[in-house]
């Protein structure tokens, strides 16, 4: 039976306190908690890559034969995002890449499509990734509610930790939340209509139908990972469905991360998997223009999935954004003074294309004469000057430390100082990187770092991705 062979997740390091948002707007409605905010150099693609790397811990990426990327916030309206994710992960060229877009159900749509592909035998190992950075208009309820995050699940037929043994979906043409191709911010209809006519009927009806189809009752479900725009609505719906909200519901992360849209169901499924034991029965529910219900049973294989940062470790690793305006600037919601540096050079598309097997996945070369890893790829070895005697070499999974650093206030970034570091890899080689997700005072020569896939520029409509170093996150 097909199921989940591995899981991973990603939550950005930065969190914004909801009371800080209220304070910025002098607003009176008290809303507690905080939301996770993608850094200025992160988006749905980079977060999906981070979750996928977490999911592939200890797994050979070459075994993946499909890569699905789900999001309502792909950085491109026209251009595939899954190909960027697959390229960054260094997946094989035969990998079938596909984007799932538009619906808040995109995450569970992708999971079910992966399941179908594996069940049908047309794929053996599908990596489902989902990243989300939805924006609510400033000074609104959606800005308060929305958070950023990502999840990844590896679906395959063998070695599964979770058998997915049931699924049922319904659709409904319904405007509860939507965003047209002209909109920056998510729109919604009146809250009571959305709740009563939309969420409650749709989710309750579909879950009830699914349980009935498989001869299950709510009591049979160990944990239910159900999408909900807020915890109050989830509690109301779950109570009506016959679940014990305290015992059976997975925390929808509202207080700590916020509503991560199409990624939420998968993120809280990952959260459930972190605590799951063999024999547990789980339910995952996606909502949006209908409802997806997936039923699953945890196997012994769950014990083999270790060392994931997933939800728990990412949640515990955070820093508070010091000022709401920083978030506003990162999301480009206010025109601010540009950095006092000349504008970027034109990004050469042929140069990006030539770099797809190297820079995108942080592959360099290793000299076959002297053994020295080098990035970027060379024709002449920097150590022994041997010519054209190299093999491909991945830096992304290697241990590294900072040799030296500076915090540069002059560099062309909206988030100065820019930390620059010469990073030395344990098995040899050096790359000079910018450093993400650090407190400047913590940076020291000799500190261990890892690499992280980031958006380094946006210019002339091209989202340009490369890598940065960062302190070992968690």
């Amino acid at each position: 039976m097909a199921g989940i062979a591995s899981y991973g997740a990603y939550i950005p390091w930065y969190r914004l306190s909801r009371p800080d948002i209220q304070q910025a707007w002098d607003s009176m409605i008290p809303i507690p908690g905080e939301k996770a905010v993608a850094g200025y150099d992160e988006d749905s693609i980079t977060m999906a890559v981070a979750a996928a790397r977490d999911c592939l811990t200890g797994i050979d990426p070459q075994k993946v034969d499909r890569l699905y990327f789900a999001s309502t916030t792909s950085p491109y309206k026209e251009k595939q995002a899954a190909s960027v994710v697959a390229g960054a992960l260094g997946l094989g060229k035969g990998t079938y890449t596909m984007d799932f877009a538009g619906s808040l159900r995109a995450g569970t749509n992708a999971l079910r499509a992966a399941l179908d592909a594996v069940e049908a035998g047309s794929a053996s190992s599908v990596l489902v990734t989902c990243g989300e950075t939805r924006m609510g208009a400033p000074n609104g309820d959606k800005e308060m509610a929305f958070g950023d995050g990502a999840a990844a699940l590896l679906v395959s037929k063998s070695g599964v930790a979770v058998d997915i043994d049931g699924s049922l979906s319904t659709f409904q043409e319904f405007h509860d939340v939507w965003r047209s191709d002209q909109d920056t911010f998510v729109r919604s209809w009146e809250e009571r209509f959305v709740r009563e006519a939309g969420y409650m009927r749709m989710v309750n009806g579909t879950v009830a139908a699914a349980l009935q189809k498989y001869n299950l009752t709510p009591a049979d479900i160990t944990k239910a990972a159900i999408y909900a725009p807020d915890p109050r609505l989830l509690g109301m719906a779950a109570g009506k469905m016959g679940f014990d909200p305290m015992a059976q519901l997975v925390d929808p992360l509202y207080m700590t991360v916020g509503n991560t849209g199409s990624a939420l169901s998968l993120m809280i499924l990952v959260s459930a998997l972190e605590d799951a034991k063999a024999g547990d029965r789980l339910m995952c529910v996606g909502y949006g223009d209908g409802c997806d219900v997936l039923l699953m049973k945890v196997t012994d294989g769950i014990e083999k999935i270790k060392d994931r940062r997933a939800i728990k470790r990412h949640l515990a690793s955070k820093t508070m954004i010091t000022h709401y305006l920083k978030y506003i600037q990162w999301r480009g919601l206010m025109a601010t003074e540009p950095p006092p540096r000349p504008p970027l050079n034109h990004i050469s598309v042929p140069a990006l294309w030539r770099d797809q097997d190297y820079g995108l996945s942080l592959h360099g070369v290793k000299c076959k004469s002297c053994g020295t890893p080098q990035y970027p790829p060379q024709r002449v070895c920097v150590i022994c000057q041997a010519q054209d005697n190299f093999e491909p070499y991945s830096f992304a999974d290697k241990k590294a430390t900072v040799n030296t650093y500076s915090h540069d206030n002059l560099a062309a970034s909206i988030d100065r100082p820019v930390t620059i570091a010469a990073v030395d890899f344990e098995e040899g080689g050096r790359i000079i990187f910018n450093m993400a997700d650090r407190h400047p005072d913590d940076v020291k020569p000799g500190m261990p770092v890892e690499v992280t896939f980031r958006k380094v520029h946006f210019f002339e409509g091209i989202h340009n991705y490369w890598w940065k170093c960062a302190p070992i996150r968690c």
């Binding site: 006092p340 000349p342 030296t404 540069d408 062309a412 620059i420 010469a422 080689g429 000079i432």
Partner: protein
């Protein structure tokens, strides 16, 4: 490089000129080129028509030989533009010297110039990048700050001690600049001002960084055996060396940022060419590429003015002061002049030339014999370095 024969004592400088450096809002690059060259030609007591070939050193202010032929109305002679990053001016001079040494020409002109203040940017008007732009955001201050971080770390200097060490370099150079009417910044600064200045790129503060300015400088070169036909005190070229780093520090983890290998290599080659074995004793004075205070500190070690790791003692004892054992930046350096890229190398030579002839006014060093210029283009991990030595 040590086995290269070189052209020691084969050519001489008979005239030099240098504009005031600064923010020349009211002057074009052509004005600056004209003024520097006019001074050099008058100093050499020749006519413009006597010039047989010319080399221009500029980074971004000109593109080909026309950048000199046009403003000077040179009459159909060969003119070549040379670009070698911040060492462009030094390399233009080197090319002109080699042309004379080859016997092909008897009078050559080298001009270094740069007009940066038309760009609209406070720093350099470029962003280093690859065509992919897959490259860390980095600036010159940020990259040289990497040297300060490791220098402090390697030699166990606290940030306070380290900043005090390099801060004293800036205090010294600012003082020398007050004595030079052609310097851009002519103001004393105190160590407290330097230590408390805003951070540009940690640990470098405002006064650890040179400014950006406009300027031009020019030299007239003739064969050594004809030099005294023009003047009684020509200054002879003792060594002209350039070393270019194959960007090793970008890729090699064994580069530790407390030295610049191309400076060491160019220095050793220049000492071999000039017959110098103990530079600390034999070099009378030097103009080093003090783009940042840490660069000057490391260069003093790389050129063997100070033992490795010991430059702090020489800075603190005043060894590099105008009245010290080996004055460094007697004219005020990049610190006081700013750094119009292509002009700086020739500006350094101008000071060494004046000092050798006893014409440096209030800055005059007593009886100098050999002056060294060091011009570093690029960044610590990837660079092009010239070391030139001239003297009587």
């Amino acid at each position: 490089m040590g086995s290269v024969k070189g052209i020691r004592d084969k050519v001489a400088i008979i005239g030099m000129g240098c504009t005031k450096f600064g923010e020349h809002w009211d002057k074009s690059k052509n004005d600056l080129i004209f003024e520097a060259t006019k001074e050099a030609i008058e100093d050499a007591k020749i006519e413009p028509k006597d010039i047989e070939a010319a080399w221009a050193g500029t980074w971004v202010s000109g593109f080909d030989g026309r950048c000199l032929a046009d403003p000077l109305k040179l009459q159909y002679i060969p003119v070549t533009r040379v670009e070698n990053a911040c060492a462009s001016g030094s390399d233009a001079f080197r090319n002109a010297c080699y042309a004379v040494a080859s016997g092909a020409y008897d009078i050559c002109l080298a001009v270094g110039f740069e007009k940066l203040k038309d760009s609209g940017w406070a720093g350099l008007p470029d962003q280093q990048s690859l065509p992919t732009n897959r490259y860390p955001d980095r600036t010159a201050p940020g990259m040289f700050a990497l040297m300060a971080t490791t220098y402090f770390h390697k030699y166990n200097l606290s940030p306070e001690e380290g900043k005090r060490m390099i801060g004293a370099i800036s205090v010294k150079s600012h003082h020398n600049g007050t004595l030079n009417p052609k310097a851009h910044l002519r103001r004393e600064v105190t160590i407290e001002q330097v230590m408390n200045a805003p951070i540009i790129a940690w640990p470098l503060g405002l006064f650890d960084c040179c400014g950006v300015s406009d300027g031009a400088a020019a030299a007239i070169i003739v064969p050594a055996d004809k030099a005294k036909d023009y003047r009684s005190d020509p200054v002879y070229v003792k060594a002209l060396q350039i070393s270019v780093c194959p960007s090793e520090g970008e890729l090699r983890a064994d580069y530790d940022f407390t030295q610049v290998k191309a400076t060491i290599k160019a220095g050793e080659a220049a000492y071999a060419e000039a017959g110098i074995t103990n530079p600390r004793e034999e070099i009378s004075m030097a103009e080093l590429h003090d783009c940042f205070s840490i660069t000057e500190a490391v260069t003093c070690e790389d050129l063997r003015f100070s033992p490795v790791g010991k430059v702090k003692e020489d800075i603190e004892s005043g060894f590099f002061d105008l009245t010290g054992g080996l004055p460094v930046q007697p004219d005020g350096g990049l610190k006081s002049f700013g750094h119009p890229i292509g002009a700086s190398g020739v500006r350094m030579l101008y000071e060494m030339y004046l000092q050798c002839q006893g014409r440096a006014g209030e800055r005059q060093i007593k009886d100098p014999k050999l002056g060294l210029t060091h011009n570093l283009g690029g960044i610590p991990v990837s660079n092009t370095v010239s070391v030139l030595i001239i003297g009587l």
